[in-house]
Symmetry: C2
Subunit: 676 residues, 2 copies
């Protein structure tokens, strides 16, 4: 290419280069490393290589109409547009050739067949570069003069047309190649798997004729819930999403009880492995039915999970993870056959497991990191996934640390007297009137607040059955703000004089939140449980901040279900998280699932997460004496921790009245030396 | 290294280099690419790295005693010699260091444990460089500060101590690594498989502690017989050999009847695949019992077979091989999991299938070529394996051609009136007295010839039951030499006047070879069958010679059972093979099995056979009009073929008498143009 050749700019990647007039747009993209799908290899039959040409962008070059700069619709494209559909403005990049300067949009997805289209699982635009590539080839017929085998002649064409050299072949295809080639009248579509660019490509599936679709699964195996997305690997579209309870719950509600089950039962590990694999297979079946596709079309799957789920899924005994030194059997990323983990997909389907960060910080945290990308930015990001353990990642492109903190199950409503899962009937929002100490609350499944008209009627079916994780945070925060509990977390008995809702229960006091078919109180023990949980979380975060030598973070991301429900304001009031501009505190939902999806659609993201996990510094809270100090100090409301002005007072909430404590900066009272 | 450093010469490879004083002999070998085994990684515990130091060879350098040039026996070696055995003169190359110029012998095998030692299957010295390497490593214990997984810490050591980067891991090991590391107290032996040097190494097996042995299988799947060797991959020793009838015989005696069986029976292919795999498993079991080893210790296997056996073993429908264009489904070499072809070996065992040359010239011919090595020499070699088809390879390092010729089953005794397999009771040698036309013969299992004293008694148990392949050649040649048949192959009825053994049978005549419990005659049809077979063989050979433009060959190798029994002199009399110095006509037995063994013990031989098969020019006799002409002309006794003086007359045999034809050069009578 020369200085005078047309300049072509590809969006959104921004890659650009000059190409001789007559170059196809597809060739130009390939030369620049811009990923544009193509199954048919430039025959204008698959329709996968669609692009759009922008107009007017090159104004300074005198472009006003793109038509002058790209070849007109040719015979092949017209034929494709007639037989299939080519949306207005779209061109087939294998046929359209460059005539002058161009700005080319590579669309995030390309509709080829009428599909059941789901709302994308995330607004994120994931650039595609999947580990699976479909390649249509026309193979020479057998020739007695050149007695290469059928498979070997196929390989010749995969090298000639697609550049795949020294192909490996999945064994199960050996007996099938012969018949498929003949059925396709010597035209076939091969699925080539190559994850690491320098590895030999692997022929994993083969179909007669043009096979124009391949699917993938991105799955997050949570302790409680398994969620997966079924995605087109060729268009990037999410075809269906499904989720179900993890059937391992019957072996133990939380992670540690499942580890105990393995320790106590000789067949425990095997039973749980079988259960989770079966549940995943059922979920895949459900997604396939919903999306109207054959599970044989699924060629790749990515999995994320916490370390114990990760091990159980792989059939590895998780016992070691239940005791120091919390040794993972496998921490690095894995690329294995789907059939080796009993998944009923295409027999050539591969599974990619994202890497675990540490014994308590799993592939789910790694995937959430990949999705939220602290390593891609300069701003200091705190990423928190709260479960029985809180997985915490802190850092930016320069340095990252991660730890797990033993929050226990209080945040999930367990070990709380009125606690329950988020379900209809559960209280999810709470406000306490600072003057009267009367509560008002909102119940899942019921539109009006408890003090609004129509609540009684609206809540008739659901009832008021308990209090879920988000409301526990709120009620304790409100109790603190209204002075019902002191900064030490004691339910103040003297308040009983002001309100009949302060009940004496033995030596301690409780707050009566609701009296009905079910009486819901917040006991001293409940407050203590929340104090312990928040202290553990905050101490873990603070420890990491000290490791990085920072005393504030720029942005906070709550991953997971807990994060989706709690109100960041209250989290800050209680001191769960350090101060941060409230606008920068975001719940990001199933970020782990999004990370799995990114790794599914683009193998560069696999290298990215592997490298990121390698560079993250792993902190084991159990080994840090400083953690204990931070923990003790974080028991107070708000935290008595150095250098972190707690913004509770600044947050727009009902003003705190009564009670004793100063709501201002709780720091500075006791100076501590940072031991690191 | 500098000019003044000691010079070290390794034998038998002849590789040499200068190394600083103090370098271990093992390091020197590795730097020169000389393969010396080591499992323990230089800890002087496995004993695999034994070498011998030659004395006196460097006389010109003033070496008289090697002792001055190599370090004395150190503490580690002495300990090894006490605990195990270190034969006199042997040193452990990981401990012995270079002091001065040295000639080092790398012994072909190294005894470490008392093994059942079998005579080597061939005298050939096979330099070892197996695809499997055992690597002992000591792995860091889990560390909460560095939470790498067990497997990942193992990988760190395999890279640090053995240089294996980016290891792939066999899925079945994932659940086991944890337990094996702990059982070995963090010391383990890993089996790494890497066939192609540039591929990522693959962790395929793992044992606690030092595991000092790995075995392999080299197997030749013949239509009639399956033969295999069980070999130590670390010492190169053949531990046991076993063979059995191919159970597919029950589906069809010869190849084509088995293909027919597949065509006629929907489950035929599957049944035959199952049968052959089961037979191989049983043979492996037998060899393991004989060698006293556990089949779990078998990590690698190589297979050779003719194309139809090759396909059936792999589970591929062979129907296409039974009809033009004789298309192989797979011709190239394959490297697959042993479990994918139902072999019960170590779950991480790999199978290497040698490449096929063409639709009728299989991996067995490729392996025989590897073993005999025409491509490694300047002399023109003819390599023939006679079965129902004759597989013929001709050439030298400059150019090679191959073809298959349809000899039919006559040479194997089928379609011959008195024909039978080589078994006790079968006539295997025949001479006919030229004066009296009386025969004398020898019977398998009977020491004296039929005209010698004691024959009657000696043959009482066996009887005289038929005539086997080698004797058919001889009797027809003798009938020709004594004038009983003419050069056109007609049993000469006029000879009946000279001997009552010439019998009139309808319109033709027969020769009465033996009258007893069983009457054995050689009929006109028998002679015709042999004529057709030898004409096919000779025409195939001649076609290849014409392709290469040569009119003689330097050496002839008969591979396979047929070659082992026939007398080259008679083969030449009948015109099965072109003229050649008789001393250069050799039966090489199961050369295919030897080739399989070479590919098992040294992966460089795999690349060699792959490259050789690629460069061999494949000739399809069915497409060559010239073949028909050659065939017709080769019907005569001896062949009427241009330019090939048949040496029948020169061979030291009873002089030919009577009959009509000139026994001299049958060539030159009819000049033909070479159509190529």
């Amino acid at each position: 290419m020369t200085e005078t050749d047309p300049l072509v700019l590809f969006m959104p990647s921004g890659k650009r280069g000059r190409f001789p007039v007559g170059t196809t747009v597809l060739d130009a993209a390939r030369q620049l490393g811009v990923y544009v799908e193509s199954v048919c290899g430039g025959r204008a039959t698959c329709g996968r290589c669609q692009i759009e040409v922008q107009e007017g962008h090159f104004a300074k070059h005198g472009i006003t109409s793109a038509e002058e700069h790209i070849s007109p619709l040719g015979a092949k494209e017209r034929r494709y547009a007639e037989v299939r559909t080519l949306p207005a403005g779209r061109r087939l990049s294998c046929s359209a050739t460059i005539k002058g300067d161009l700005v080319v949009d590579v669309p995030p997805d390309t509709v080829v067949n009428a599909q059941v289209i789901r709302k994308a699982t995330s607004d994120r635009l994931i650039e595609r570069n999947p580990a699976i590539q479909l390649c249509y080839v026309e193979v020479d017929e057998p020739d007695m003069h050149k007695p290469l085998g059928d498979l070997d002649r196929l390989n010749v064409m995969l090298e000639r047309d697609w550049g795949f050299r020294d192909l490996l072949v999945a064994s199960h295809l050996l007996p099938k190649v012969q018949g498929i080639l003949r059925k396709g009248n010597w035209a076939v579509t091969a699925a080539i798997h190559r994850d690491v660019e320098t590895d030999r490509p692997h022929l994993v599936a083969l179909w007669p004729g043009l096979h124009n679709e391949a699917y993938g699964i991105a799955c997050d195996i949570g302790s409680t819930t398994i969620a997966l997305h079924l995605v087109s690997l060729l268009s990037g579209r999410v075809i269906a999403s499904s989720g179900s309870a993890n059937p391992q719950i019957r072996f133990g509600e939380d992670l540690m009880s499942r580890v105990s089950y393995v320790m106590m039962n000789p067949d425990g590990r095997e039973a749980m492995t079988r259960a989770v694999r079966q549940a995943i297979n059922e979920l895949i079946e459900k997604a396939c039915i919903e999306g109207g596709i054959d599970r044989q079309s699924i060629l790749n799957a990515t999995f994320v999970a916490n370390p114990i789920m990760h091990h159980l899924f792989l059939g590895i005994d998780p016992t070691e993870l239940g005791q120091a030194p919390f040794a993972l059997a496998v921490s690095g990323a894995l690329d294995i056959w789907a059939r080796d983990v009993d998944l009923s997909l295409n027999p050539g389907a591969r599974v990619y497991m994202l890497p675990c960060i540490a014994g308590h910080v799993g592939a789910d945290a790694a995937a959430a990191t990949l999705a939220e990308g602290p390593h891609r930015q300069d701003r200091m990001m705190l990423l928190v996934d709260v479960g029985t353990n809180a997985e915490i990642v802190l850092g930016n492109r320069h340095r990252m640390v991660a730890a797990s903190s033993p929050t226990g199950p209080a945040f999930e409503g367990a070990e709380i007297s009125g606690g329950q899962r988020a379900a209809p009937g559960a209280i999810e929002r709470v406000r306490i009137d600072p003057a009267t100490l009367e509560p008002r609350f909102r119940v899942i499944g019921v539109e009006p607040w408890s003090d609004e008209e129509g609540f009684a009627e609206a809540s008739e079916t659901t009832g008021v059955t308990g209090i879920c994780g988000s409301a526990i945070i709120e009620v304790v925060a409100e109790m603190y703000l209204t002075g019902i509990i002191t900064e030490d977390g004691v339910v103040d008995g003297t308040m009983a004089a002001r309100s009949p809702r302060i009940l004496e229960t033995g030596r301690t006091f409780s707050y009566l939140l609701h009296q009905g078919a079910q009486t819901i109180t917040v006991t001293q023990n409940d407050v203590r449980a929340i104090q312990l949980a928040k202290a553990a979380l905050y101490a873990g975060i603070k420890l990491l901040m000290e490791k990085l030598g920072v005393d504030s973070v720029d942005t906070i991301r709550f991953a997971g279900a807990f994060g989706s429900f709690i109100d960041p304001k209250y989290a800050m009031v209680l001191g769960l998280i350090p101060d941060c501009d409230l606008a920068e505190v975001k719940a990001v939902g199933n970020a782990a699932g999004t990370g799995a999806l990114m790794a599914l659609l683009n193998r560069n993201h696999r290298r990215e997460v592997e490298e990121t996990v390698r560079t993250i510094e792993k902190i084991e809270t159990a080994l840090e004496p400083r953690f204990q100090e931070l923990f003790v100090n974080a028991m107070a409301l708000p935290n008595k921790v150095d250098g972190f002005p707690n913004l509770a007072a600044a947050v727009t909430l009902p003003e705190r009245r009564g009670g004793g404590s100063d709501t201002g900066d709780g720091g500075g009272r006791r100076r501590r030396r940072n031991r690191e």
